[in-house]
């Protein structure tokens, strides 16, 4: 399967779940900012959750189907159209060759993932297909998609891949009646970010900690795949010790010397020297990935035990979802609900 990029959008990159074995060489994990949407797009096709997808920032992306396609998309920033027909998210979509597809803007979030049957076929670098823009490697030669790029899917298909394809393939756009209920995996309060107190939590004055956990913070324009800066109540320290640089991770909230919050995201540096007030609970990273400048959030504290429990539960549910989709696909026919 192959597409041509007609409109690349402002920042579209190939991403998988990231590079996890080279952090000691200061190589960031990179990978999908919203790993939940990314995995749901993959699982909807019977792909392994780790297959490479295209991460679209906001919208305004158009592609052309050079061949028949089986794709799925998931995210909060766009709706997919074939001409005037809106196509549903979170389920496999059969698109016949020669079709133009447009991702048009939705207000709710900032990132959307486009998965293809078998995954996008780019050369893995250090065990991952993720694009790392700063050092220009991974994905499509370490850069974002541009007009005229051709991307192909891998031809290694799983049994589920083949069954889903067989059930939907035809002359017209087609998709099944089921979809993944993504809401099941996300918190209801999308603007409350759960955090675990960080190692330097107690370096801050009590009134600053109170502000951190009770007042609102607004995402500034200074936000990208490396990190986010927030506007809001400034925080001051009671311990002035200079922190010796140490490892940080996506989700780490540092407080810079002017007292403002900096949340590290997928492409962040691997080490940092600012005090870490908190760590965003892993399961709320997708909520952070979908924030837009101007969005107002609150932080609420949970224990590391609770954060880990929530994380492991979600991982279990995602595994169950993969199994359920496989079972669904192994039943002889999936009723199509096409649009002839």
């Amino acid at each position: 399967m192959e597409i041509t990029v007609i409109k690349p959008g402002i920042l579209s990159t190939v991403q998988d779940l990231g590079r996890h074995f080279y952090r000691h060489q200061a190589i960031p994990a990179a990978g999908a900012m919203d790993p939940l949407s990314m995995r749901i797009a993959n699982l909807s096709l019977g792909n392994s959750p780790t297959e490479a997808v295209i991460e679209i920032t906001y919208a305004d992306v158009s592609i052309f189907a050079e061949t028949d396609l089986l794709i799925a998309y998931s995210g909060e920033s766009c709706l997919l159209y074939a001409g005037k027909q809106a196509l549903p998210a979170n389920r496999p979509l059969f698109i016949p060759a020669g079709q133009y597809l447009d991702f048009s803007h939705l207000e709710s979030g900032s990132r959307t993932y486009l998965a293809i049957l078998g995954g996008w076929d780019v050369r893995p670098v250090l065990g991952s297909k993720s694009t790392y823009l700063e050092a220009q490697f991974g994905g499509l030669s370490g850069r974002c998609l541009k007009k005229g790029d051709k991307l192909r899917s891998s031809e290694n298909l799983t049994q589920s891949n083949k069954r889903i394809l067989a059930s939907l393939k035809g002359l017209y756009i087609n998709f099944p009646s089921w979809s993944v209920h993504k809401e099941r995996f996300t918190a209801l309060a999308k603007k409350t970010i759960r955090v675990v107190p960080g190692k330097e939590f107690t370096w801050f004055r009590a009134d600053s900690l109170l502000s951190f956990l009770s007042s609102s913070y607004t995402l500034s324009r200074d936000c990208n795949r490396m990190g986010y800066r927030f506007n809001g109540q400034g925080l001051s320290r009671s311990v002035q010790t200079e922190l010796l640089s140490t490892a940080v991770a996506p989700g780490t909230i540092q407080v810079t010397n002017d007292g403002s919050l900096m949340l590290l995201m997928a492409d962040s540096q691997t080490t940092g020297g600012y005090p870490r007030i908190a760590q965003v609970a892993q399961i709320d990273i997708p909520l952070c990935a979908q924030l837009k400048p101007g969005d107002v959030i609150h932080f609420s504290a949970i224990s590391r035990i609770e954060a880990e429990k929530l994380y492991l539960n979600q991982e279990k549910e995602l595994k169950r979802l993969a199994v359920a989709i496989n079972i669904l696909c192994s039943t002889t026919s999936i009723p199509g609900k096409g649009s002839q």
Binding site: H20, Y22, H24, Q25, A26, K199, I305
Partner: protein
């Protein structure tokens, strides 16, 4: 005061364990930069990598700490040697147990890596500034910079960038007031009390006193970063001719 009572578990005077994320734990061996702490970090790092637990992804040494990244979904189901109800408990338990075996290990015998550096002409745009700042000759700057061993404390900032410790305090020089838009790969610089080498071309404000022809970071290598935390290095003075020869052949005695 430890809020929520669970993020920090000190269990030995020389060693404390901290939550970083659901998939990472930091072990802290001390509070300040010194040789003893450096040795502890790297001995433990070596031991852990020689005896990894199921689910270990990667370890990141820093000045006084070692951070252990793992896959909690593997750790929580691992059968061998990991005990506890949470991933944090299982991994920290393993690390504590492993730490008891650390005394048995002989002291790290580090080999010194010799890094060729050319301190001449266009490769050393700030050499004269650094010399005049300290009121010494450029030759003296080169001598002071290339006559002592340096320790690689940490790889951070950008892929393959080594934070070096051990520079002669006579060479401490403030950063440039206006950073350069692009510093060439291999450039050796001074910023305050630190010295380091730019692994690839990036903007930077360090005072550049030389350049190494070696590729400090090469994504095509199985291990892209030339240096690792825990290494000890010495700069070896080379001339322009040698610089070109090493750069073109990309070979150097210390790499074989």
């Amino acid at each position: 005061m430890i809020p929520f009572g669970t993020s920090t578990q000190p269990f030995s005077s020389s060693f404390s364990i901290h939550f970083l994320s659901e998939n990472a734990i930091t072990i802290e061996f001390g509070q300040k930069i010194d040789e003893a702490t450096f040795d502890k970090v790297h001995q433990f790092n070596k031991l852990l990598n020689a005896r990894p637990f199921e689910g270990l992804l990667c370890t990141v040494p820093a000045y006084v700490s070692l951070t252990v990244f793992y896959d909690a979904t593997i750790v929580i189901n691992a059968k061998n040697g990991l005990i506890g109800i949470s991933g944090f408990e299982r991994v920290s338990g393993y690390l504590v147990q492993l730490h008891t075996q650390m005394t048995a290990i002989e002291k790290n015998t580090r080999k010194t890596i010799r890094l060729p550096v050319c301190y001449e002409g266009k490769l050393a745009p700030d050499l004269n500034y650094v010399a005049s700042y300290h009121n010494i000759s450029p030759a003296e700057v080169i001598r002071l910079h290339s006559s002592v061993p340096y320790k690689v404390y940490m790889i951070g900032f950008v892929p393959g960038f080594a934070y070096l410790g051990g520079m002669n305090s006579l060479l401490e020089t403030p950063r440039k007031a206006v950073p350069r838009k692009k510093v060439p790969a291999g450039s050796v610089g001074i910023a305050g009390a630190q010295t380091g080498i730019y692994p690839f071309p990036i903007p930077g404000g360090w005072q550049i006193i030389g350049c190494s022809p070696l590729r400090l970071f090469d994504i095509e290598r199985p291990s892209p970063a030339l240096l690792s935390a825990g290494d000890e290095i010495m700069f070896e003075v080379i001339d322009l001719e040698e610089f070109e020869a090493i750069k073109n052949s990309n070979s150097w005695k210390s790499l074989s």
